[in-house]
Symmetry: C3
Subunit: 210 residues, 3 copies
C-alpha cells in the first residue's frame, strides 16, 4: 500500500514535470529555466497540500521526487523534437497528473483523520495546484478556464472515490485507482470530444444581463 502510493506520487511528479516543460515551449526559455519550471510544476500541488495539512512536505522528506522531476524535465527537453503534437500531449499528460495527484491526496487527507469535505477539497487543490502554478509562471490562461470540462471530471472522480470508500468495503488503494481512472478517462473524453457543460450550467460573458 505505502509503496503503491509512493509510485503513484512519483509518476504524477514526472508527469507534471513534463507538462511544465511543454507549457514553457511557448516562450524562449533555456534548459535551466525549463528545469525550474518543470520542478515547480511537479511538486507545487503536493507542496500546497502538505503545507495546508501541516505535515512535512513530501519532497523534503524524500528528495527523490525532486531528482525525478529534474530528470524528467531534462529528458523532455532533449526529446522535444520527437514530440510533434505537443499541445494535445500536454492536455492528456495534465489529465494523468491531475488524476494521480487528486486521488492520492484523498488517501493522505483521510489517513490524517479528517472529513470527506476536507478530502474532496484537498483532492482538487492537489490535482490542479501544480498545473495552476505552471500556467501562471508561463503566462498561459489557467487550465481551469479551459473551454472543455476540466473541474467537473475531478469533482466526479473525487466523489466516486469518497462514496466507494464510505459505502463499500473496497480497499483504499483500489478506491484510489477507481477515482483516478474516473478523473483521467472523463477528462480524456472531454479533451477528445470537446465535451462541454450544457449552456444552462455554464457562465458565459455573452449571456450577461439576460
Amino acid at each position: 500500500m505505502f509503496e503503491f502510493s509512493y509510485l503513484v506520487a512519483l509518476l504524477a511528479t514526472v508527469t507534471f514535470s513534463i507538462t511544465g516543460v511543454l507549457a514553457a515551449r511557448t516562450v524562449r526559455i533555456d534548459l535551466f529555466g525549463v528545469v525550474v519550471v518543470g520542478v515547480v510544476t511537479a511538486v507545487g500541488g503536493g507542496t500546497l497540500r502538505d503545507i495546508i495539512l501541516d505535515v512535512p512536505v513530501f519532497w523534503i522528506e524524500d528528495a527523490s521526487y525532486v531528482v525525478a522531476a529534474v530528470i524528467a524535465a531534462v529528458a523532455t527537453f532533449v526529446l522535444k523534437d520527437l514530440i510533434s503534437r505537443r499541445y494535445q500531449l500536454l492536455l492528456y499528460l495534465d489529465a494523468l497528473g491531475v488524476a494521480l495527484f487528486a486521488s492520492s491526496a484523498i488517501i493522505k487527507t483521510l489517513s490524517l483523520g479528517l472529513e470527506n469535505t476536507h478530502a474532496a477539497v484537498m483532492g482538487v487543490i492537489t490535482g490542479i495546484g501544480g498545473g495552476l502554478i505552471r500556467d501562471l509562471l508561463t503566462g498561459r490562461p489557467t487550465l481551469i478556464m479551459s473551454r472543455d470540462l476540466y473541474a467537473s471530471p475531478i469533482l466526479l472522480g473525487v466523489s466516486v472515490q469518497l462514496l466507494v470508500l464510505a459505502h463499500t468495503g473496497m480497499s483504499a488503494s483500489l478506491a484510489m485507482l477507481l477515482g483516478g481512472a474516473v478523473i483521467f478517462l472523463s477528462r480524456c473524453a472531454a479533451i477528445h470530444w470537446h465535451l462541454q457543460m450544457p449552456d444552462q450550467l455554464t457562465l458565459d460573458s455573452r449571456d450577461s444581463g439576460h
Copy 2:
C-alpha cells in the same frame, strides 16, 4: 466574542466566494469550475494567514467554511441572471470581504501575542489574499492595480483598529467592527466617487523620467 468572530469569518467567506463567481463570468467556465474558483477565492486569504502564523488552517479545523463557500458559489451561479450590474457589485462585495477578513485577521494575530506590525501585515495579506488569487486564476488585472484607492482604505482601517486597541479601552470586537467599517466605507467611497490619490502620491508610467 468567539461566535462573533466565527460569524464574521463565515460572512467574509461567503462574500469572497460570490466575488470569485462574478469575476469568473468574463470567461466561459462551467458550474464546477465556478465552485472551484469560488472556494479558492473564499478560503485563500485566511489560508495564507494561518500558514504564515503556523496555526491550524481555519477550514481544516471547521469544514463549514468550505460548505458555506460551495453553497454561496452555486447560489450565485443560479441567480446570475438577476444580477445586472455585476462589475459594480463585484467591487462592493470585494470591499466587504476585504474589510471583514482584514479586521478579523488583526484580532487573530494579536491573540497570538504578536506585535502591531505583524497584525497590520497580516490584516493586509488576509484582506487582499483571496482577491489576488481570484484575479490571478481568472486572468484579471489584480485589484491592487485598481485606478481607485484600494490599498489605502485597508491601511487606514487597519491603523485605526490598532490605534484604538492600543490607546483606548475599547473591546477587541468593537475595535474590529470600527476598523472593518473604516475599510468598507472608505473603499465604497473610493469606488463610488472614483477617489484617487493626488498625483504626487501616485506612481504613473506617463511620468517616468521626469
Copy 3:
C-alpha cells in the same frame, strides 16, 4: 556568523522591496499600493522558504524586516524622479536580491540537517520566489521567461556554493559570499551582454515541429 546572515537577509529584503516599487511603475498605483507590492515582493521568497521548511517565518520572528521593506518602498517612491534608467536598475537590483536570498537559503536549509538537493531547490525557490510574486502581482511576464540567462546563473552559483562546502574547508559564510557573488556577477554579465544559452539548449516556439 548569525549577524552576517541577518545583514544579508536585511539587504536582500530592502533590494527586493525596491524592485517591487520599480516593477509597479508600469501601472497607475498609489503610495500605499506601492508599499504593499514592495513588502510582499521583499518577504515573499523567504516566506515560501520558511513555510516549506516548516520553521517560523523570518519576519514573524523579527518584524524589522517588514519595517525595512516599508521604509525602502517609501524611499524608492519619493526618489523615483531621480531614477532615470529604471528598467535596467530593476534588472540589476533583482540580480542582487536573487543572489543574496539564494545563497543565504542554502545555509539555512543545510543548518536544518537537510540534503544538498533540498538546499539547491530552496536556494532557487527563495531566490526567485519574491520576484515571481512581484511579476504576477504587477501583471508582468515573469522574469523566469527572460530572454537573457536567468535561471542558469542561480543554478551555477548554488552549485558552486554546495561544491565548495562539500569539498573544501571553507566556512559557511565565505561559501555564501562566493555563491552569491557567482550568481550576481554571472547574472549581471547576462544582462549587460545579453548572454543567452546556445540555441541547442533553448526551447523556442519557432522550433516547434522540427
